[in-house]
């Protein structure tokens, strides 16, 4: 009932009530646009660890349909052959052999130096945590995976992520049930690496498009296409060097012809991954 100033009471329908409410909360288009723009800028300049929660919440809420869609996508992709990568099993063995060769090289160095250091063998002391891939953003401005893995397993930023016996990236964010993996091809990724048997450390930075770049390496070093690129050991995160990619192209740097411009490609098909393994060194009991 609506009570008017002259004392009359009139019945009111819900539709009329709705129209009245709309008139009361009417906002001009200009104001609406300003509010939304303001909200956008707040989101843009808010700390990333806060805004990441939205992306994690989306991945958690729609984990099941996203996984189904991704499986269908992977299934269809298995019919398409990609140049450079033969089949997954073969590349897995090749990477395994590459890792063994690297270990053999390390052993030889040990013998040459006649040290009696304790032998470190692969990932013997590490916890290997398998995790399913929820979403993958590859090929755009960023190369990242969101994986389903609980924080209680001991996940932390900076831990290396392995698949098909090769390093594919590092953990960049950890949430309660999910974690974000920054692939080494992401432009924000920087990983210390070594090429073949050269005993020189260089930083490899992602360049998108399923590749990464190594710069600041003098042309006096003999680099060949196909040379293995190994992620350097990092105390607390990786106790042994592991293969991360191979040299795809090696040309003179356009700005400085005394340096190499090296492009590195992954040794496994990152786009087809549906599960990965997180390496946790020195696991807590």
């Amino acid at each position: 009932m609506v009570k008017w100033s002259n004392g009359y009471q009139l019945p009111i329908t819900s539709y009329q009530l709705l129209i009245m409410a709309r008139k009361l909360i009417r906002v001009s288009r200009r104001m609406l646009f300003t509010w939304f723009m303001l909200a956008g800028f707040i989101l843009l300049f808010a700390p990333q660890n806060l805004t990441n929660n939205f992306q994690f919440a989306f991945a958690s809420l729609f984990r099941w349909p996203l996984a189904v869609g991704r499986n269908i996508s992977l299934f269809t992709r298995t019919w398409q052959s990609r140049p450079g990568i033969t089949n997954r099993r073969e590349s897995e063995y090749e990477n395994y052999i590459a890792n063994l060769t690297e270990q053999l090289h390390s052993e030889r160095q040990l013998v040459e130096k006649l040290t009696r250091m304790r032998k470190r063998f692969g990932l013997q002391g590490a916890d290997l945590i398998p995790a399913d891939v929820v979403t993958a953003s590859i090929g755009g401005a960023h190369s990242e995976l969101i994986i389903y893995c609980r924080k209680e397993h001991g996940l932390a930023k900076g831990q290396f992520v392995l698949e098909d016996n090769s390093i594919i990236g590092t953990i960049s964010d950890v949430w309660a049930r999910n974690a974000k993996v920054r692939l080494f091809t992401d432009p924000a990724s920087k990983i210390a690496v070594r090429i073949g048997k050269l005993n020189i450390d260089r930083v490899m930075q992602g360049s998108g498009n399923d590749s990464a770049k190594i710069s600041q390496l003098s042309t006096k070093h003999n680099i060949k296409v196909g040379d293995h690129v190994l992620a350097r050991k990092k105390p607390g995160f990786l106790d042994t060097s592991l293969i991360i990619g191979t040299v795809a192209t090696c040309t003179w740097d356009k700005q400085n012809p005394l340096l190499w411009d090296i492009t590195v490609k992954p040794v496994c098909d990152i786009e087809r991954l549906n599960s990965v393994t997180v390496i946790i060194m020195n696991p807590q009991e």
Binding site: A67, A141, N209
Partner: protein, 166 residues
């Protein structure tokens, strides 16, 4: 505007965009059509201006949470250019499919470029050939986009043959 239908529709499209669309990706750059961009243009053309502003920002926000990007960059870009397109539609009719394709291509290119610049402003690194990816995505969306207008109109119960400028 049927907002519940809109919310369900956007969520379904976002999940499809984030998971299933890899099937139709082309080239080594993994270029896929942007369904959210197509919907942005659809709502800007077939809704009144106020609804178009709300839908533009809402689509931008879901693009932000589903695509690995600097949060907020897509919201601002989609909102800005969706609103501009809605106002433009009051002056220039975008009824025929070639015009709709052109609208998708131009809007997609501008949105991609602005989102990239905003991401740079936030300090995020970008790939070397980002503009190829942006133009490729806009072109791919422009080719397939107008064909998706009909199912979108059916779901949203919008009559596409009735022409009006709000």
């Amino acid at each position: 505007m049927r907002w519940l239908r809109f919310a369900v529709f956007i969520l379904i499209v976002t999940v499809l965009q984030a998971s299933l669309l890899d099937i139709v990706a082309v080239t080594k750059l993994n270029i896929r059509p942007n369904l959210l961009l197509t919907l942005l243009v659809f709502f800007a053309i077939y809704c009144n201006t106020t609804d178009a502003i709300i839908t533009s920002f809402a689509i931008g926000f879901v693009a932000d949470i589903s695509i690995a990007s600097a949060m907020g960059s897509q919201t601002i870009s989609f909102g800005l250019f969706g609103t501009a397109l809605a106002y433009l539609h009051r002056v220039i009719a975008i009824r025929k499919m070639p015009y709709q394709s052109l609208a998708i291509f131009i809007t997609g290119s501008l949105i991609g470029a602005l989102a990239h610049l905003l991401a740079l402003l936030k300090g995020q690194a970008a790939i070397s050939n980002i503009y190829t990816v942006i133009l490729g995505t806009a072109l791919y969306s422009a080719i397939v986009g107008p064909f998706l207008f009909l199912p979108a109109a059916w779901w949203m119960r919008i009559k596409t043959h009735r022409f009006s400028r709000h």
